[in-house]
């Protein structure tokens, strides 16, 4: 665990920046800070989505069910809020629990499938879960029309002492902190995976499952653990987003685009790393927002061009590009096999 220190330091640095950000934004931008906070929450949401998806990818399994677990968490929050009187804050852990349990069930039967077969099974699961939610009694899950979800925070407006925009600021600031906390939790889980023996198991299973098993790794167990962790985290995100957006609806909450963003972002940033998906989420959010402001219409075309170009020219994402540049500047980089060969 000695090597974990830099990770802990940069996570801590990120946490401090996050803690100060709302105050600094408000001081610097006044009313405009309201939308900046909202953008920051969107970026962190993409980061959580991407990094949680990457956890399973590290075992070599490509899941197309991330939208399903996101939706399961969101619906768990909505049903909890509408059917019971328990405090809404419990919706967060509940969303994670429901998604984690679903992953345990789905993973037990599908994780023996490899590559494209697992991907298709998880894609089918997303559609099935959406259909099931739609067919549930309307009184429980709202059918095709969905449900309203109460907000996690209700701003306190003090007339005379506050300006009207500060209501929105207060609300966005509160959500900003919860997103930051969930992001830090996701990063912490990722760092634990990367800095303990789990990394050896996940990487071995990804590169050669049969050989990993001969060396004592239990591939089924490693993949199931990754799947449950990955899904529980995105389930919590789904619950949080449901509260921030105020409603859930089958077509939107289980939208396949959620899965697409979950896998495109780590590919863009750098797969199988903690930094890659986070970096990818930050850069892609900034690119998207800039394009949106420049071309109100058709900005998605520009977004697509950026993605295609980056996948063509940065096969290992932003993190891979950075490593390549550093090696080139530092000369030889890693020792070549020839250097270390020595007498046989």
């Amino acid at each position: 665990m000695r090597r974990a220190l830099p990770d802990v330091l940069w996570t801590l640095a990120l946490a401090i920046v996050a803690a100060l950000a709302p105050t600094l934004l408000k001081a610097g931008f006044d009313q405009a800070s309201v939308s900046y906070l909202s953008l920051a929450s969107n970026a962190m949401s993409l980061g959580i989505l991407a990094l949680s998806w990457d956890l399973l990818a590290r075992t070599g399994q490509l899941s197309l069910a991330h939208a399903a677990f996101y939706g399961a968490g969101a619906y768990a929050a909505a049903v909890l809020a509408n059917a019971t009187g328990v405090p809404i804050v419990l919706a967060l852990p509940l969303g994670g629990l429901v998604a984690g349990l679903l992953a345990l069930g789905l993973g037990s039967v599908t994780l023996r499938l490899k590559g494209i077969y697992f991907a298709i099974a998880t894609l089918a699961f997303t559609e099935v879960l959406k259909a099931v939610v739609q067919e549930l009694p309307t009184g429980l899950a709202g059918g095709a029309a969905g449900l309203n979800v109460p907000p996690l925070f209700r701003p306190h407006f003090v007339p005379g002492q506050m300006q009207r925009w500060e209501i929105a600021f207060q609300r966005n600031e509160a959500y900003f902190y919860v997103y930051a906390a969930l992001l830090v939790l996701t990063i912490a889980v990722s760092i634990v995976v990367q800095r303990t023996r789990l990394r050896a198991a996940f990487t071995a299973v990804r590169t050669n499952e049969a050989v990993a098993a001969v060396m004592g790794v239990r591939p089924a167990r490693a993949k199931l653990l990754a799947f449950v962790l990955s899904s529980a985290l995105v389930g919590m995100l789904g619950a949080l987003e449901a509260m921030r957006l105020g409603s859930v609806i089958p077509d939107g909450t289980f939208a396949i685009s959620t899965t697409v963003f979950a896998l495109v972002t780590p590919i863009f940033g750098g797969l199988y790393t903690t930094l890659g998906p986070i970096l990818g989420a930050g850069v892609l959010s900034a690119v998207e927002e800039t394009l949106k402001r420049t071309f109100a219409e058709g900005y998605l075309i520009g977004y697509g061009v950026v993605l295609v170009a980056s996948i063509l020219f940065m096969p290992r994402g932003l993190v891979g590009l950075a490593t390549r540049l550093r090696r080139r500047r530092g000369g030889s980089g890693t020792p070549a096999a020839g250097d270390a060969e020595g007498p046989a």
Binding site: A200, V211, A213, M215, G216, R218
Partner: protein
């Protein structure tokens, strides 16, 4: 008895690859399996290591029935194996490759013990200086060493070696023979398949000769190489050659 094979058989459709195979390997023994091409040596080793399911028979490791155990369970029971076709994890360094076996080979291994075991396996297989090199940059000889180091790191009681000497120069083979002896001296039982006869002579306590999937002879190197049936299996009978 460390390894016991009883009535082992393997059929591929109508083809009988191995049948009626019985043998026992005692603790600390170096046991060789030889025979002409197609004799069923590798099929036998694959059944012991779990790559193939036997059509009949039973395999015991230290008194435990492992006939139907999966790869990870066999490894935890104490079976280590080095593949004939080397398959390192290319994205990992040499040390990381070995650490996989050290961490997961024996249940309940602490990080500290695993690190020590990995360092030991690297040192014994002469990979010390290469520990931080990505496995994809190794030469074939180095990959073979890595194959053995990974198996050793799982703390095996029985080590299966499938033609690890193939492609080695005589000097390298001598080093490898020394390594296998050293491993045995630490209490590990070794079962190996080999075509290089001087290696079999130098290493094996006992030799099992297989032919057409059946045991042909079992004994010391001197005994089996003096056996008329073995000579016949390898060289053919005189009258056969006359006919040819």
């Amino acid at each position: 008895m460390m390894l016991r094979v009883q009535g082992l058989a393997k059929r591929f459709g109508g083809l009988v690859a191995v049948s009626d195979l019985d043998f026992e390997v005692t603790e600390g023994e170096i046991f060789a399996i030889i025979g002409p091409n197609g004799a069923g040596k590798t099929t036998t080793l694959n059944m012991i290591s779990g790559l193939l399911t036997p059509s009949a028979g039973r395999i015991e490791l230290a008194g435990r029935d492992i006939t139907h155990a999966n790869s990870a369970e066999r490894c935890h029971a104490g079976l280590g194996r080095a593949f004939q076709v080397v398959q390192p994890f290319p994205e990992m360094t040499v040390e990381e490759n070995v650490m996989v076996g050290a961490l997961y080979g024996a249940p309940g291994t602490s990080n500290a013990v695993a690190r020590r075991r990995a360092a030991d396996a690297l040192e014994r297989s002469g990979l010390d200086a290469l520990r931080d090199v990505p496995a994809e940059e190794l030469t074939l000889l180095q990959e073979k060493r890595l194959e053995i180091a990974r198996a050793l790191a799982t703390a095996p009681r029985v080590l299966l070696l499938d033609e690890v000497m193939a492609g080695l120069r005589p000097a390298e083979a001598r080093l490898a023979v020394g390594l296998v002896r050293e491993v045995r001296d630490q209490g590990v039982t070794v079962v190996f398949i080999e075509h290089v006869m001087p290696v079999v002579r130098d290493l094996a306590d006992r030799v099992l000769v297989m032919d057409y999937g059946r045991p042909l002879a079992l004994g010391s190197y001197a005994e089996v190489t003096a056996d008329a049936r073995v000579i016949e299996a390898y060289l053919g009978r005189d009258d056969e050659e006359d006919e040819a």
